[in-house]
Amino acid sequence: MTVPASSTKVRGETVLSVENLVKHFPISRGVVFQRQVGAVKAVDGVSFELRRGETLGIVGESGCGKSTLARLLMRLETPTSGSATLEGRDLFKASGSELRRLRRNMQMVLQDPYTSLNPRMTVGDIIGEPFEIHPEAAPKGSRQQRVQELLDVVGLNPEHINRYPHQFSGGQRQRIGIARALALKPEVLVCDEPVSALDVSIQAQVINLLEQLQDELGLSYVFIAHDLSVVRHIADRVAVMYLGRIVEIGTENEIYERATHPYTQALLSAVPVPDPELRDNRTMIRLVGDVPSPANPPSGCHFRTRCWKAQEVCAREDPPAVPRAADPHPSACHFAELRA
């Protein structure tokens, strides 16, 4: 291990701060005279903070905006409004060399290890490519050595530097993706469904690797996943998203043991538990219907169309995500309470 842990930096201080982030994708009609007829509200006012050395899990079903959020944080999309700061510097106003410096500090691990690696590049070229863009990160002469160190860090054989992606299994490819993300010694890793394409026995290996790297390098993770069991295992804090908004956010224990938002409760109760006897002892909340279209979300609380607690007020007023006396973590529901 020669990658220095960020030893001078204090654990627990805020690394990434996101304020009211919004991304609307326009829907347009017409061929010559295009006019906007609506918008897909993929991310609709998201705020959170990520502290150094912690893992923030982001869970939600498909279409809830979690991947768009990841792309916004990586500046692969331009936000409609809102702001974000990485170590105190504005993420969306930065440009030129300042943006390049910022990007070194935040890297991404992608979902599909089969399509996210260029099949025509060797592993050494894939992991070393970040150094082409950021030459100051490693002098030319030392690059091969750095790449081999990175391979070692993620548990691959450093001698395989000249192999191609197809010579590796899915789990090994995901390790290559992680090595590439670590090349520039980032502070924050955005992991978008990093283990969902992997088989169970391989998934555990990659999760353990991510946890070990976090301990050794002091990394902070934004860990996006739809698998609530995986998130519980790895996350310190968890945000639950529904139709572009965070409906509940809290520590891992607050969300999994003391959830107050009906959607979180339903989501947790639907997770298949791999133990037939435990299953007998729990009651499942069965949600009816599907997630509404983010192009035309329901008024007021977005969840009200599938919620068994919904009242008239839910259609009228948007519930703010605020802590309540009974349970001091933010939950965006007019009737937030513990499940009986």
Partner: protein, 345 residues
């Protein structure tokens, strides 16, 4: 709905007092330019009327190929069925001519697939697609097929079925498309339904809806079901028995509860220990070391031995037979009893 009338006796007796469906010592290989991949290496399982058998395994374990062999939809070549029997009501499907097999396919044994979007034809309305089977196979008129399609869509709880008959697959959500595919599979009142990863592409809340629907249908229509999945959580909810596959073999076969309580094969044990659990937050997940084998070079002896914490010299030399552990449980491991005792602890 006249479904209850279709299967009057709950456990319809099969000839020779045997099982409804039985796979016996099936061997399948894929012959490719790079070599011969031994995908199925002596798989045997059976299914009785009205029960649910889960076939569990990771990618490449051969769980889907076995199902495709039962349905007779393997691509040959590259696949070659080397040996074995697939008995349906006592008759070997593999020796029957294609014409006879077609009588069984869909009518007696139907299958649903993982990805409903690619399993449905995007250019025809769903009502027409559900009715197609009825027109072609049952010789129904257009009007009758249409009416029956509405019944089937009601059966799988698609809201406002009558109005949605003319909609195309892309107009349905993922969960609804899966329901359409289930309706198509049920069109001919099959006695066996094979569900190949039916909920893998779906979100958890929708997954729960579809698994409930399948369990209800199986009970109401008195079908037998083979559920193919990689998800230990899904299995725990619906299956009666479970067959765990590894490298084209069944390594453990047991009733669901005893298996989850105390697995008797090191692979099953490793799998159960390596999944993160909602109900407990451990520090480090235990893992199964190494990778699944390349099917062109399956290790000698027990195929799991390079990854197995129990492995001894005998595992490298001798292929383990199924050890019977009581209650009809079997485990293909030289140290099955030891593994079972360890996990029961």
């Amino acid at each position: 709905m006249t479904h209850s009338a279709v299967h009057p006796t709950p456990a319809s007796p099969t000839p020779e007092g045997g099982h409804l469906l039985e796979v016996r010592d099936l061997h399948v290989e894929f012959r490719t330019g790079e070599g011969v991949a031994k995908v199925i290496n002596g798989v045997s399982y059976h299914l009785d009327a009205g029960e649910t058998l889960a076939v569990l395994g990771e990618s490449g374990s051969g769980k889907s190929v076995t199902a495709q062999a039962i349905m007779g939809i393997l691509d040959t070549p590259p696949a070659v069925i080397r040996s074995g029997q697939i008995l349906y009501q006592g008759r070997d499907l593999l020796t029957q001519p294609e014409e006879k097999r077609r009588q069984v396919r869909g009518k007696e044994i139907a299958m649903i697939f993982q990805d409903a979007l690619s399993a449905l034809n995007p250019t025809f309305p769903v009502g027409w697609q559900i009715g197609e089977t009825l027109r072609q196979r049952a010789g129904m008129s257009r009007g009758d097929a249409r009416r029956r399609a509405i019944e089937l869509m009601d059966l799988v709880k698609i809201p406002a079925a009558q109005n949605r008959l003319g909609d195309y697959p892309h107009q349905f959500s993922g969960g609804m498309r899966q329901r359409v595919m289930i309706a198509m599979a049920l069109a001919m009142n099959p006695k066996v339904l094979i569900a190949d990863e039916p909920t893998t592409a779906l979100d958890v809340t929708v997954q729960a809806q579809i698994m409930d629907l399948l369990a209800d249908l199986r009970r109401d229509l008195d079908m037998a079901m083979i559920l193919i999945t990689h998800d230990l959580g899904v299995v725990a909810g619906v299956a009666d028995r479970i067959a765990v596959m590894y490298a084209g073999r069944i390594v453990e076969h047991a009733d669901v509860r005893p298996l989850y309580k105390a697995p008797a094969h090191p692979y099953t044990k490793g799998l159960l220990e390596s999944i993160p659990r909602m109900d407990q937050r451990g520090q480090q997940l235990s893992t199964i070391k190494g990778l699944p084998p390349n099917l062109m070079r399956i290790p000698s002896g027990c195929p799991f031995h390079p990854r197995c914490p129990y492995a001894q010299q005998v595992c490298v030399d001798v292929v383990p037979h199924d050890l019977v552990l009581g209650d009809g449980r079997t485990s293909a491991c030289h140290f099955a009893q030891e593994v079972h005792d360890d996990s029961a602890r």
